[in-house]
Symmetry: C2
Subunit: 294 residues, 2 copies
């Protein structure tokens, strides 16, 4: 990875994670619920969504502080989706990032409520963000709800469940991933454009960049499931195949998936060139997806 | 019930319910998920929360249209909470309002997602409400998230689960109900005050009215569990006792609970007198709780 990107990511990850323990400090929340919410929020991960938001703000010449509450809310929603996805009635996963999943530690009912609580509190946090004006806040609430809700992530998850044990084609797979994982990759880029109040055309170009990036990210995940190391993945190698999941690798083969990954990264870089952002954090982030090992 | 209140409630219920099938009409949502969300939204009920919002707006001299999106969002959140409460890992209920619960019809994973989808879409709807200004909208999003989230309903639900199979005292029971059911009764009254832009003191008085009303509503539910008819309740008579639930009746006896109900109704009426609203829909609504049979 490019050294500048590496330093930026490490720096912003540390800054972001230092905020997490303070999230519910002044809120009267029953202890077990608070503990369950923080357990999954603090379970690690690359924090790729918050970093995308910060990097986009930075590239647009705006201070990252302006996106902190939005990034925290976004990560809370990402985290809730993982807690609910791991439930026995869904993917029934016992490990996530090498740690026992929420329901294995706190029980199923608390895990459901911890997810519900994180999802709801995300909107509370953004609606109350003192750094940005109310008109911008209401746009962010709207965009995040649309990205995470039935038209976005939740709908993609429903289609993904229905596609299990069924062979689907590439278009169907892309439609699922555009919503299930893509919308929460697209949101931070769009949110930064809204916070920075860029013009409509520039915002649309950034959204296209983020859509290609989201697909590249998912294809990379599918490849890593086979080529990665268990320790870095936090789950067994080849678990997608063991679970008969539809992935880019199962549809296109490993080489085909690698070609598709390169296409999506190139398409994302082409968008950045249109707005003069071809040399910087956003292009480095796209290029990094080509060669990441975890 | 007072004839004017009866007509108002029937009228607003019909108006409100006519909006439900149109909610996701222009949204690209995968069919089974949309069907599952609408199934529970359209399953009936008294629509007491939307009606409280409309009645408060009406009492403040403001047209009910201004509260329609907020009332729909509120009912979506109330509905999601019922879907998740009924899940096997929570109360494991198979019947709700005389109909099979969401997970019995659509399966557990879809029921979880339908709940998540309704919760998220509620904020999307309110954030996009064309009838009210953006500053008011952001206040409504904040208040609703606070009422429904870890400090409110979700926290109350967590404490309620932890109180099962355990004897708790009256203060603990009231603390649970103030959050689990009370916050979503208080919200519509507070929301109407925000939409009507009343002064701080009047808003605080209305909030106190709503808090007493919320407790009265819950105490009435507990009494009805014993004295109501199965058909009107939509569940077996005495199911709280069968499930060893902590209720006002189990703590105070039937007569004690009836006294407490009367106290709370009187306290709510006393608040209304302070702001000259002692004769009207809001006082009729409180008095109706004294004698309701379902």
């Amino acid at each position: 990875m490019n050294q500048m990107l590496k330093a930026y990511m490490a720096n912003k990850k540390a800054w972001f994670e230092a905020e997490l323990p303070m999230l519910f400090q002044n809120a009267a929340i029953t202890p077990k619920l608070k503990q369950a919410m923080l357990y999954s929020l603090e379970a690690g991960g690359k924090r790729i969504r918050p970093i995308l938001l910060f990097a986009t703000l930075h590239s647009l010449g705006k201070a990252e502080d302006n996106g902190l509450s939005t990034a925290l809310g976004l990560e809370m929603i990402h985290t809730y989706s993982l807690i609910h996805d791991d439930l026995p009635a869904m993917d029934n996963d016992r490990l996530r990032r090498g740690k026992p999943t929420n329901h294995c530690v706190f029980g199923e009912s608390t895990a459901i409520l911890a997810g519900d609580g994180l999802l709801t509190a995300a909107f509370q946090l953004i609606a109350n963000d003192p750094f940005i004006d109310e008109n911008t806040r209401i746009k962010l609430v709207y965009l995040l709800a649309k990205a995470a809700g039935p038209e976005g992530m939740v709908g993609g998850q429903q289609d993904d469940l229905q596609a299990e044990e069924k062979k689907i084609n590439l278009n169907e797979l892309m439609s699922i991933h555009k919503r299930k994982t893509g919308r929460l990759i697209r949101f931070p880029v769009e949110a930064a454009a809204v916070i920075a109040k860029v013009d409509k055309k520039k915002k649309q170009t950034l959204v296209l960049y983020a859509e290609h990036l989201g697909l590249a990210f998912q294809i990379g995940d599918d490849i890593l499931d086979l080529t990665g190391e268990e320790k870095a993945l936090g789950k067994p190698v080849g678990s997608d195949i063991a679970n008969h999941k539809n992935t880019y690798v199962s549809l296109l083969g490993t080489n085909g998936a690698k070609e598709k990954l390169e296409q999506e990264v190139n398409a994302s870089l082409a968008e950045l060139r249109k707005i003069g952002l071809e040399n910087g954090l956003l292009s480095d982030l796209a290029s990094y997806l080509l060669h990441r090992t975890y």
